[in-house]
């Protein structure tokens, strides 16, 4: 175990130097990096906001099931099926029917089924049929139908969330899908997430609807921001989907903040037609079921652009313009988890983390030197090399360093010497019976090898499981702990062993002070 070929030695140090090189990259000028790799600081160290958003697809399911009412009734009528007690419920449509068998055939037809399309990749229909007592049936979304609705809503939400956050202009946001219903948002450096939260909390469904003179069929009673109650037609003249741009402005006459918007060709046509036909009437601008304002139509607007005025502050006008630009969320989002760390706490954490790392390191080094003298120095050199390599590997992986991650490094320092302690203690035992020092070292290394491996693999298993199950900061701990074990094995079994062999082989005979 003490004989190294020249090639061996070359590779041992080459790998060490290669990995160590990456650790230096963290100290280069970050504005003009030679190689753009570095260890990222977690939100708990650099400050920032972590938000976990959850989509609520229930309103969407309700909306979608309602959209099937007309095609369903048409199907029933076209095929002379008589139905009774038609009811629109939260998540299903229920009615009673005379000929259920016939309906079933039509309902589950794979050919040109506009009511209930077949989803090929799931091998399932979008809708399902429940047959109850007394010829009652219930139409509802199938498991895969719900999944399709949910997935497309989630994808769309992620897109809208990304647009809104990019528009606010935070640096390097992370936006990821988490599971089937959640979106993870990380906003480094953000001090107060309230504005982002309120921007993400609004679905921002905008539509323009005419105000009716009085309560009549096909109108909704809606409240305006000023507390006025208006009867608004159910018919949507034009919706936010037709918007291509929106900007905050100042109205030059009233000096009030306003939001200007530009429409696409289709929107401009619709808007032009409606305003031409309804001069003198009021047009309500409805956002998320609330009237923002309801101005009177003074003249036909055919230019394809317009202005929303309301009782906005400039901030509100800016946010509204941003929301309209980014488009509506398909469904409301809830913040189910939030963690925000201020930048000064992050700095304090880095400081205390580094201090405890340095002190822990010094204590261990002093102890090892006291215990093993020259060989303690070797173990300490291996420890230093170990730390440098650990940072190097973290850099190569561009891993995220968190406060528990720093704790993982300190723990590695404490546990890393174990490999060398195991080996040295073994050699000590061998020295009692072996005459030849070289032989004793040789046997010591080979006998301790299995133990060292077994002992470290157990900790590695724990680290891997922690990585798989942990979240955020805890994951950072698992990463440093896991990589620390691997660099520890390398430094003990290659670097320290080579250094030891140089000392032992040069001594030849005589005493070794272990």
């Amino acid at each position: 175990m003490l004989n190294f070929s020249k090639i061996n030695i070359f590779f041992i140090y080459l790998i060490f130097l290669f990995i160590s090189f990456f650790s230096i990259l963290n100290f280069q000028d970050q504005k003009e990096p030679l190689i753009d790799k570095k260890v990222n600081l977690g939100l708990d160290l650099q400050g920032g906001s972590y938000l976990l958003l959850e989509i609520n697809s229930d309103p969407l399911v309700k909306e979608k099931i309602q959209s099937r009412v007309i095609p369903l009734k048409k199907l029933l009528k076209d095929n002379n099926l008589n139905y009774l007690n038609f009811k629109i419920n939260e998540k299903n449509l229920s009615f009673s029917l005379n000929d259920i068998e016939k309906f079933k055939l039509l309902f589950f037809s794979k050919n040109d089924n506009s009511l209930n399309p077949y989803i090929g990749n799931y091998n399932s229909f979008e809708l399902d049929l429940e047959i109850l007592e007394n010829n009652n049936v219930r139409v509802l979304f199938s498991k895969y139908g719900l999944l399709t609705i949910n997935n497309s809503a989630l994808k769309q939400s992620i897109e809208i969330v990304r647009r809104r956050i990019d528009d606010v202009g935070t640096k390097e946001p992370t936006i990821l899908q988490r599971g089937e219903k959640r979106i993870l948002v990380e906003l480094p450096g953000l001090k107060d997430p309230e504005r982002i939260k309120s921007l993400l909390g609004k679905t921002a469904k905008l539509n323009f609807r005419l105000v009716a003179e009085n309560e009549e069929f096909g109108t909704d009673k809606l409240m305006s921001e000023t507390g006025e109650e208006l009867n608004v037609s159910k018919r949507i003249v034009m919706s936010g989907e037709n918007l291509i741009d929106s900007q905050p402005n100042f109205n030059s006459q009233s000096n009030q903040p306003t939001v200007s918007f530009t429409l696409d060709r289709l929107g401009a046509q619709k808007f032009g037609r409606t305003t031409t036909d309804n001069v003198g009437k009021r047009l309500a601008i409805v956002l998320d079921g609330k009237i923002v304002s309801a101005p009177s139509i003074n003249e036909a607007v055919t230019s394809g652009s317009g202005m929303i005025s309301g009782n906005f502050s400039f901030q509100e006008a800016t946010d509204l313009a941003l929301l309209l630009r980014s488009g509506a969320l398909p469904t409301p989002l809830n913040v189910v988890e939030e963690r925000t760390v201020g930048p000064d706490l992050g700095e304090d954490s880095i400081k205390s983390g580094i201090t405890s790392l340095i002190i822990g390191f010094i204590l261990v080094i002093l102890f090892m030197f006291y215990k093993y003298k020259v060989f303690g120095l070797i173990a300490n050199l291996a420890l230093v090399a170990n730390l440098i390599m650990l940072v190097g590997v973290l850099t190569i992986l561009e891993a995220t360093l968190t406060l528990p991650g720093i704790a993982g490094i300190i723990l590695t320092v404490g546990m890393a010497v174990d490999a060398n302690v195991l080996i040295f203690e073994r050699i000590k035992e061998e020295l009692k019976t072996e005459k030849s020092i070289i032989h004793a070292f040789d046997i010591g290394y080979s006998k301790a090898r299995i133990t060292v491996l077994d002992a470290n693999i157990t900790t590695l298993i724990a680290a891997v499981i922690l990585f798989a199950f942990g979240s955020g900061p805890v994951k950072g701990f698992a990463i440093t702990l896991g990589i620390g074990i691997i660099t520890t094995l390398y430094s003990a079994y290659f670097l320290a062993r080579h250094l030891t062999s140089m000392i032992v082989l040069n001594k030849k005979e005589g005493k070794v002070n272990l």
Binding site: E194, S352, S356, F367, A407, I410, T458
Partner: protein, 302 residues
């Protein structure tokens, strides 16, 4: 220096002590329960630093009274004028309350407040976090059981699992007794303790296996005793260096890491104890001898 401490004669009394503490821990965990942090219970946590030293805990608490927040817990945290406010989960969403709470504090206390940390965990997420934490602990116990089973004989595998259960339950039991907060970082600590304690046990088991083959006339008690003594200085040195590193985190690492490092310190002490006084006696209980090892070899070499 040659140590020859008679460990095996103390196995019995040590086991009685372990069993007592183990049962006490379970009783405490069941009847007193654990002091879950917001990670597992849901709720809101606000860490703040006031720019004036003139405010105190009761002022902070009373300033929030008007908001009717339910159970509000305020304590000093780290430096002077640093405070930690914990608000339990309401039926609605605490999330929307955060800006209001901030405003109320600033208005009522009349000082500059720096909100250093704000965390809010909803009820669904917190129960998921707890669940995945428990799964992670069980999974790692199972993984260890398998690893030792592959590397050693089943008796060793049972012994190491008994020792791990001992360590995990007693560490959590002490957290229950002292009403210390259990959060995500404590789960991380428990998993690391599992790794560390296993590490310690493996070193002694490795030596017992080696010595069983080497000294076939010694019985298991004598072999265990010899092996423990032979590896004792390693056990002590490694525990010491690990404890030095952990103490450094505990004292200098700041408030956030305090619970974690405390759990780890407990775990290292208990884990070191258990690999000598719990893991080894289990082998004696199963009457492991060099013959046990031979059987396995016959199986491998047909």
């Amino acid at each position: 220096m040659d140590r020859n401490i008679d460990f095996s004669s103390k196995f019995k009394s040590a086991n009685i002590l372990s069993l007592f503490i183990f049962i006490m821990s379970i009783i405490f965990i069941i009847f007193k329960g654990l002091n879950y942090g917001i990670d597992f219970k849901g709720g809101t946590l606000i860490e703040l630093r006031a720019d004036s030293k003139n405010i105190n805990i009761s002022e902070i608490r009373s300033s929030l009274n008007s908001m009717n927040l339910g159970d509000v817990n305020v304590k000093a945290f780290g430096k002077e004028s640093d405070y930690l406010i914990k608000i339990e989960q309401k039926t609605g969403n605490n999330n929307e309350l955060i800006p209001e709470i901030k405003k109320t504090l600033i208005n009522n206390l009349n000082v500059e407040i720096n909100f250093r940390r704000v965390e809010n965990v909803g009820p669904k997420v917190s129960s998921e976090l707890l669940e995945s934490g428990i799964i992670a602990i069980f999974l790692s116990l199972v993984a260890m059981l398998f690893y030792i089973w592959i590397r050693f004989e089943w008796q060793f595998s049972v012994g190491s699992i008994v020792a791990l259960f001992h360590d995990v339950i007693i560490t959590i039991g002490i957290f229950s007794i002292l009403s210390l907060e259990v959060n995500l970082s404590i789960i991380a600590a428990v998993l690391t303790i599992i790794g560390y304690s296993m590490n310690d046990t493996v070193v002694i088991y490795d030596r017992i296996r080696e010595n069983l083959n080497k000294y076939t006339r010694l019985n298991i008690s004598e072999t265990a005793n010899l092996s423990i003594n032979e590896t004792l200085s390693r056990t002590i040195i490694t525990s010491l260096t690990t404890l030095l590193a952990l103490l450094s985190i505990y004292i200098l690492g700041g408030e956030i890491l305090r619970g974690f490092s405390f759990a780890m310190i407990l775990g290292v002490l208990i884990g070191t104890y258990s690999s000598i006084f719990v893991a080894a006696p289990v082998l004696k209980f199963f009457k492991v001898s060099y013959k046990t090892l031979e059987k396995k070899e016959e199986k491998i070499v047909p």
